[in-house]
Symmetry: C2
Subunit: 557 residues, 2 copies
């Protein structure tokens, strides 16, 4: 895209029509500021893919214009792509103290530490990134130290909310800057970019305090030991678990690598207060009376190798679950994880544990970190934007967010529901969406980044459904007679022991195809291979209703 002088451009490289891989760009003339660089976990259709990150072609092509990346908070869908980004582009990263802690953990894992300029900011910071002045405001979310961003540009002010809810009784004093938001709105907002995750949910997002109250009650009622599983990054919720343990005079053990790492960062940086002597090692759990112990562990999403799954299957080395223990799932399953989580709950019940799960208002141990409809309307009302761009959501969420915006006074026609790559240009106070930049999914598979495309995935799909059949045949160069074979090897198609007759007929058909074609003096190997595929494929389909991948190999000697 050509640079537009004195034009303010806003677009997403990820995060629209999806939950995940958030990456947004605010550009004024020749200057680019990036917001977030998230990853997204693939669904089952992307066989073998480990992670999806944004396509950053546009940024690579315009790297000299990039003034920096601001990271709103430390969730995977906002920081997961950073290690891959940094291998291609080196730009300064601005984030709060806690967010930086998580980014640093990530860079260490990828052995990338040291090369990048990481700049610590807070909600009072003011950055000068080229012609743009950037200021911030605090938001409440399910991780500490979250920021909303204000871009002060010659064209006007642009606000990016980050992820947020309004929580008037937050845990751990993690309040939003609601007065500052009001001031920003009063000063005038040209465009609001606001997250849409819960735009379908009516009402106001419940307070984290609800979880704290239920946690205290559950701790007071419990007889045996207590195991709480939640997201390691939800430090304010973890503080409430610490408080409940304190209240009931229990020691606390941390299980799972990310729980240990993130709690470590949180304590060290002052986001979590744990009384002296409360923390114990996993091996110290069993010797203590069960009513004196609580455990905080990873695996609330049902991850099969994480601590909770191993506890539930009785395979955690130092700690066992006994009847009368209480297990609290203080997290809702993210869509797609329900089955894995349910399997763990089943296993815990089989061990005789009391299991507290679900999000009912009477015992619920989870509230969303994302604002509901009334939260979103409050943000829109505070900011009073001229233009509105809903982000961070599937289409139906963006659609509902638009209706909410219009209900609180954003003019019809002033909301832009964009796709990743679509650019909203604002010039002389008029916004238009007429052009787009490259965008898309980049697949990470093992060490490969972007080397897996549609063809490889299509092959994997066929292989996964019906397996494959290799047919090898050796033919003489001189007289074109079959020297050896056909031999067949099959995997993932049929259980070979029971399929002798099937494979014999495959060999017969292959031989016949080769001989017939040679009889017709047809010598192109490709044609012969195509014919083998066709005749064998048809035969196998009539016999089995399966379509394995057929790979004829002709060796010419």
């Amino acid at each position: 895209m050509s640079t537009r002088e004195n034009t303010l451009s806003i677009f997403a490289l990820g995060g629209i029509n999806e939950i995940g891989k958030n990456m947004y760009v605010v550009q004024y003339s020749e200057e680019i500021v990036i917001i977030d660089c998230g990853g997204k976990f693939p669904d089952e259709s992307l066989l073998g893919i480990d992670l999806i990150i944004p396509d950053i072609t546009y940024l690579e092509e315009n790297q000299e214009k990039i003034r920096g990346m601001i990271v709103t908070h430390g969730h995977e869908d906002h920081i997961g792509g950073i290690p891959y980004f940094l291998r291609k582009l080196n730009v300064p990263i601005y984030a709060t103290r806690f967010t930086l802690g998580l980014i640093e953990l990530k860079l260490e894992e990828h052995r990338l530490k040291g090369d990048t300029k990481l700049v610590q900011i807070d909600s009072e910071s003011i950055l000068e990134l080229g012609k743009m002045k950037v200021s911030f405001f605090k938001t409440s979310h399910s991780i500490p130290d979250c920021l909303g961003i204000v871009f002060h540009t010659p064209e006007g002010n642009v606000v990016h909310t980050g992820d947020f809810k309004f929580d008037l009784t937050p845990a751990n004093n993690a309040s939003s800057d609601i007065h500052k938001m009001a001031k920003i709105g009063s000063d005038g907002v040209l465009a609001l970019i606001s997250e849409s995750t819960n735009a379908e949910r009516k009402g106001l997002s419940p307070s984290e305090q609800m979880v704290g109250n239920h946690m205290d009650e559950a701790f007071m009622k419990a007889h045996g030991k207590i195991i709480v599983s939640t997201f390691a990054s939800n430090v304010n919720r973890i503080q409430q678990v610490v408080n409940a343990a304190m209240l009931t005079n229990r020691k606390l053990a941390l299980l799972g690598r990310s729980m240990v790492n993130v709690v470590g960062v949180a304590i060290e940086r002052g986001y979590l207060t744990v009384p002296e002597g409360m923390l114990i090692e996993a091996r110290d759990v069993d010797p203590l009376p069960p009513e004196r112990v609580a455990i905080l562990c990873t695996g609330s999403q049902g991850e099969p190798m994480a601590a909770l799954a191993r506890l539930a299957s009785g395979s955690y080395r130092d700690v066992a679950i006994y009847p009368d223990d209480t297990v609290i799932l203080a997290a809702s399953p993210i869509p797609g994880n329900e089955k894995d989580v349910s399997r763990i709950i089943d296993n815990l019940f089989k061990l005789g544990a009391r299991v507290i799960y679900g999000s009912g208002s009477s015992t619920g141990m989870h509230v969303s970190g994302h604002g509901y409809q009334e939260d979103l309307k409050l943000m829109l009302t505070l900011m009073k934007p001229t233009y509105f761009i809903p982000i961070h959501g599937e289409y139906r969420m963006l659609h509902h967010h638009q209706l909410l915006a219009e209900s609180v006074g954003v003019e019809k026609g002033n909301t832009f529901i964009i796709k990743n790559g679509d650019v909203v240009d604002i010039e002389n106070s008029v916004a238009r969406q007429t052009r787009s930049v490259p965008s898309g999914d980049t697949y990470v598979d093992g060490m490969g980044v972007g080397d897996i495309g549609e063809i490889v995935l299509r092959d994997r799909k066929q292989l996964s459904e019906d397996g494959m059949l290799v047919i090898v045949i050796t033919i003489s160069k001189s007289d074109r007679k079959i020297i050896s074979g056909p031999d067949t090897i099959t995997r993932g198609f049929v259980f070979v022991k029971n399929s002798d007759d099937l494979l014999k007929e495959v060999n017969r058909l292959t031989k016949k195809t080769v001989t017939d074609l040679q009889g017709e003096n047809i010598r192109q190997w490709n044609v012969i291979k195509q014919n083998i595929k066709k005749s064998v494929g048809q035969y196998l389909f009539t016999q089995t209703k399966r379509k394995p991948m057929i790979l004829p190999i002709i060796i010419e000697i």
Copy 2:
């Protein structure tokens, strides 16, 4: 299992620790009665598998004892296995008129009609199956003509609930036999076998009337045409759609094969009343004014080839969705289908349609057909069983159902939470669970039933994640020199164009391995193949962090 004289035995061949493939057995001495024969849809981990049905080894081994199969209702998880069952065992099937209609449709699809004795019963029928007298009672569920079963045996009475809820204001006059149930309970129930699907949900299952009221309101509010998607078998809900169409003077078109078939059966057999002239063909939709048309279609579970998905993607031949049309999803997504359903909702919003979805109490267009905790307690209270066997559910549901039973007076120790195959034997009024019969999952893949096992699935998994690499090498029998190759073919592993160097190194390693081993005078092909796999596998893993299936093929000439 050896037959036990004068013993009443109860067990499940499917339906326990799962939702799906329900199959239960009540046996008294030498006489077996089967209840239901369901299928279950595989999750993503069972690559390429089409359907799971119960392992019926026990029934095959005891076929001379089988007196018949009673089918409680026509849902897939209760009838889906019947065509496969009938290929192995021919037993009379007893079911109500509507259930038989669905079974016959299924047998026609499988070209099995005519060989089986299908016996129509109703809730007043009394069967004499050997020494067991069998009677029935009507239940309310999300499909018409459902039965609960009473087995009158010399040992005592056994009640199997089928699937049920209590709905005091059902649609279409489909009431439960609540007085009959009370009488059965008063006469004495030795054992109750009751479904557990919603044992985790508090309260009473909402009435189908709620859907009818919301449907009427939505029809009255709508301006354009209305598209309702629901399960074809939920005939009582379909009746409410018909009523709403009548109320608002709309014609009704049916889209989707199973909607047409099942509605056909329902009308023909008297379970659905549609006014003369209301039904129109799909091609007649567009010519009519949109406010005079409603559509009933399949695809409420997001099935990609069903009518709703095709409407949402604009690819349905005769019918298009226009802005201002109303689409009603009158079904909740079954766990696992959420993403497909969400994608359709997104597409419908993109077309400008109003979409009504979700199960909120203010607009909800779906209620469950399974009783909640209070329904289950009411059944337990009516039946007052001595012994209780919760069925039809995952472990956590059975567990909660046990707690409910104990809360209404079933003695502790008298509930049997069994696994598929576990047998509860009752003799001289004492119940014990000490033995089990064979049970398990039989996979259907294409035409194959039971021919796919763990090895094939493991291969499919490996192929699906990292693809494969075939290495072919031809070696001379006489001097053991390499005549041709190594040649490599890869699928699903890397994009070949970009991987020249990688594959060159694979060839070099293969050649080296073969030559080295021959130098050491090692001639067993298996050893050579193992070594190729190892060296190439290690190399590829360090380079790509992927583990493709490696298939070395050595041709000896």
